[in-house]
């Protein structure tokens, strides 16, 4: 009697998660396996795929553009992930004080994160326009140089990084603020009585207590940064009939942009799959490394 009850509960459990699991299998696991298999073929998406072994992987690394894509993506990750995390931590600590309108500020900081990336990029392109944009007009007012943010290969990736930091920092703030508010007040009180200075309070109490959230944000934002696409894609469109191409595009193309271009413009779906597999490996590797390092600094 009792055993049947337990079995019944398991059945219910599976039934409840079935829609989610089915969804993941059909829309994620399936395509991952499929594109892994396709990465060994030459396939334009329309005619039958032809098995070519590792040729796609070889072609990928021979292509100069792949090099640019990995270089730009790496720079993007190295800058965007730490900066959004530190900035998020800074703002969250400011908001963790007893200030008026805390909720209001929280909303303000979070808003950029829920705006559509394409719309965000559109607004920023207006702001960054070198001749008519607000940013350069302000730089000019205080006598600073006015770079061509959107048309100079030395700056365009940095423009994208600025936009990415601006739109991602709010998410980090909300998560970290929630973590900060869960730190028990009595820890601070007793440390305060013992005469601990503020930086000790932060490093000995605050940081260890919020480290699980920091770890969560670190892994998630690294994964997201490695897959950056939408802002980059939006920045190729300038309103011209033909989007940005050539050396300027090479200065900010990223890995996922390359996958998109190969798959849907050049119709080389096998090659694009190979690149997706490599990116999958890179992300899996970095995430595994982060989980390994986690034991050293994250406290649960």
């Amino acid at each position: 009697m009792k055993r049947r009850g337990v079995r019944g509960e398991w059945l219910w459990a599976y039934l409840f998660i079935a829609p989610m699991i089915l969804g993941v299998c059909v829309f994620s696991v399936g395509p991952i396996i499929y594109s892994f298999l396709r990465s060994f073929t030459k396939w334009n998406g329309m005619s039958a795929p032809v098995f070519t072994g590792l040729q796609n992987y070889a072609a990928m690394f021979r292509d100069q553009k792949t090099l640019y894509e990995f270089r730009n993506t790496l720079l993007y990750v190295i800058v965007v992930v730490p900066v959004t995390l530190l900035l998020g931590m800074f703002v969250a600590n400011l908001l963790n004080k007893k200030i008026r309108g805390k909720t209001f500020f929280r909303v303000i900081f979070y808003l950029p994160n829920i705006a559509m990336p394409v719309a965000v990029a559109g607004i920023w392109k207006l702001l960054l326009n070198s001749k008519y944009g607000l940013v350069n007009q302000m730089l000019g007012k205080i006598g600073l140089p006015e770079p061509s943010w959107l048309s100079d290969g030395r700056f365009i990736l940095w423009s994208i990084i600025i936009v990415a930091v601006w739109s991602n920092v709010g998410y980090n703030v909300v998560i970290l603020l929630a973590a900060l508010q869960n730190v028990p007040q009595q820890l601070y009180e007793s440390a305060f009585i013992d005469g601990a200075p503020p930086h000790i309070l932060f490093w000995r109490i605050t940081f260890p207590m919020i480290s699980p959230s920091v770890f969560f944000l670190l892994t998630m934002s690294t994964m997201n940064a490695l897959r950056v696409f939408d802002i980059v894609y939006s920045f190729t469109f300038t309103g011209n009939e033909t989007p940005i191409r050539g050396p300027l595009l090479d200065s900010f193309r990223t890995v996922v942009f390359g996958i998109y271009e190969k798959a849907f413009v050049n119709m080389e779906l096998g090659l694009a799959s190979a690149m997706a597999v490599v990116l999958f490996g890179v992300i899996a590797g970095i995430t595994a490394l982060q989980f390994y390092m986690e034991k050293k600094w994250v406290h649960y």
């Binding site: 089915l22 061509s148 100079d152």
Partner: protein, 433 residues
């Protein structure tokens, strides 16, 4: 009670999921269900006027929506038995992504349109020669250059729908304020340069174009040197490093960086040439016939249009659209019946408030829309226009390689043009291997 509720919830979730799954599939059988009767029913002699059922039509571009809807409404009056389901796909790139996914598995449209870049899709289209020969469609009603877009070997794959050609748009207010004569047809590159020089000052440049666009930018200058932006020749699949290509691109580069009379590439990258022109930052603009309406709405009677200047000869780029039928359509009779209507003068004229119909003489509405402008020149341009795209497979891919190299030239003053074109040639040949 709680358990009852959860059972109920699970059932609700599962059935709603099933409904979602079925929803996508059920539209396809609905359209394929009807023709199964005529297909499988031992050939019940389907004649043209016996066409019935539902067919789907895919197209892109919001601006074409009203035209396509009026065509379908008119067709309903001609053959009420056929229902045409229109599907608007917002952008051109998205349209091709959809076709690429749908055509191989047979979930695509029964009838669709294609621009000159059709070579990759021939395997999925019905060859039309025999059908056209046995019908009222007369191909001499359409400009030969557009029929040629869709003819491979001797086989025709689409019926022309509309076309667009390129001309110079100019701002009369700027000409007047500087006392410069309006350009007249028959003007040459030298006249063009002199005019642009007279119009350039601190306020504005003489000329602007989307430099790296072959259709409205550099490609026209190349054509005017008797070359082609990309073109197949007898022994080479493409030829992009010949003298005409060199001369055409160098002319544009010189306009920007030697004579300083054209808006330089970095400024165009940040703001499209058309916007620069409409904002009074450039006195002349090369653009397509589809921009007449939008630009006129800003400049009003200050707008003038004139043919592109003549280089080694008179030339401009042309692109267009054509209607094609999916090879394995489940309702061929209805699709062919609809295509014949689309090809007729009536069917073509229905869209002439937005585009130039391919059917000669069906463009009255378009011509009359802006009486102050000599729009006839866009139609007459078909006599000296060349297709932008090459008639080869993978043309999007090689076009992109081309644009990469041309962008490298035109964004760098003093760049070694010949070396860059040689690299383009090598890369494009490699891509077509």
């Amino acid at each position: 009670m709680k358990k009852m509720l959860s059972v109920f919830l699970v059932i609700a979730i599962v059935t709603s999921l099933a409904a979602c799954g079925g929803g996508g599939g059920s539209t396809a059988p609905a359209s394929s269900g009807a023709p199964a009767a005529s297909d499988g029913g031992a050939a019940p002699t389907p004649s043209d006027d016996g066409a019935s059922g539902t067919i789907s039509f895919y197209y892109w571009g919001d601006e074409q929506k009203s035209g396509m809807e009026s065509i379908v409404a008119l067709y309903k009056g001609v053959n009420p038995d056929v229902t045409v389901e229109l599907t608007l796909i917002p952008g051109r790139d998205q349209y091709y992504v959809n076709l690429q996914a749908a055509l191989p598995v047979g979930t695509g449209p029964d009838i669709m349109w294609h621009n000159a870049n059709i070579a990759d899709y021939l395997d999925y289209l019905v060859p039309l020669d025999d059908l056209v020969a046995g019908s009222d469609i007369d191909l001499s009603n359409y400009p030969q250059v557009i029929v040629d877009f869709y003819t491979f070997g001797d086989t025709l794959y689409a019926i022309p729908k509309d076309f667009d050609t390129i001309a110079i748009f100019y701002n009369k207010a700027i000409f007047d304020s500087l006392g410069v004569d309006y350009p007249a047809s028959g003007w040459t590159w030298d006249d063009f340069l002199a005019t642009a020089q007279a119009l350039t000052n601190d306020e504005h440049y003489g000329y602007a174009c989307d430099f790296n666009d072959s259709q409205i930018g550099y490609g026209n200058f190349v054509r005017q040197q008797r070359g082609a932006a990309i073109h197949p020749t007898g022994d080479a699949p493409v030829l992009v490093n010949d003298a005409s290509m060199m001369e055409g691109i160098r002319f544009l580069s010189d306009l920007m960086y030697t004579h300083n009379v054209a808006t330089p590439a970095n400024e165009i990258t940040e703001m499209p040439a058309a916007d620069q022109f409409m904002g009074g930052k450039a006195a002349m603009l090369s653009h397509g016939s589809w921009m007449v309406g939008p630009i006129h709405s800003v400049l009003g009677d200050d707008l003038g249009v004139v043919e592109l200047p003549i280089g080694a000869h008179q030339a401009c780029q042309i692109n267009g659209l054509g209607y094609a039928i999916y090879k394995d359509t489940k309702n061929f009779d209805a699709a062919w019946d609809f295509l014949q209507f689309l090809a007729s003068k009536e069917g073509q004229a229905a869209t002439s408030q937005v585009v130039i119909p391919a059917f000669t003489g069906a463009a009255d509405e378009w011509l009359a829309a802006y009486p102050s402008l000599n729009l006839q020149l866009f139609l007459d341009a078909t006599s000296y226009a060349y297709a932008e795209y090459p008639y080869v497979r993978d043309s999007r891919k090689i076009n992109q390689i081309q644009t990469d190299h041309v962008s490298a030239i035109l964004t760098n003053p003093g760049h070694d043009i010949q070396a860059e074109l040689d690299a383009a040639q090598a890369n494009m040949e490699a891509a077509l291997q």
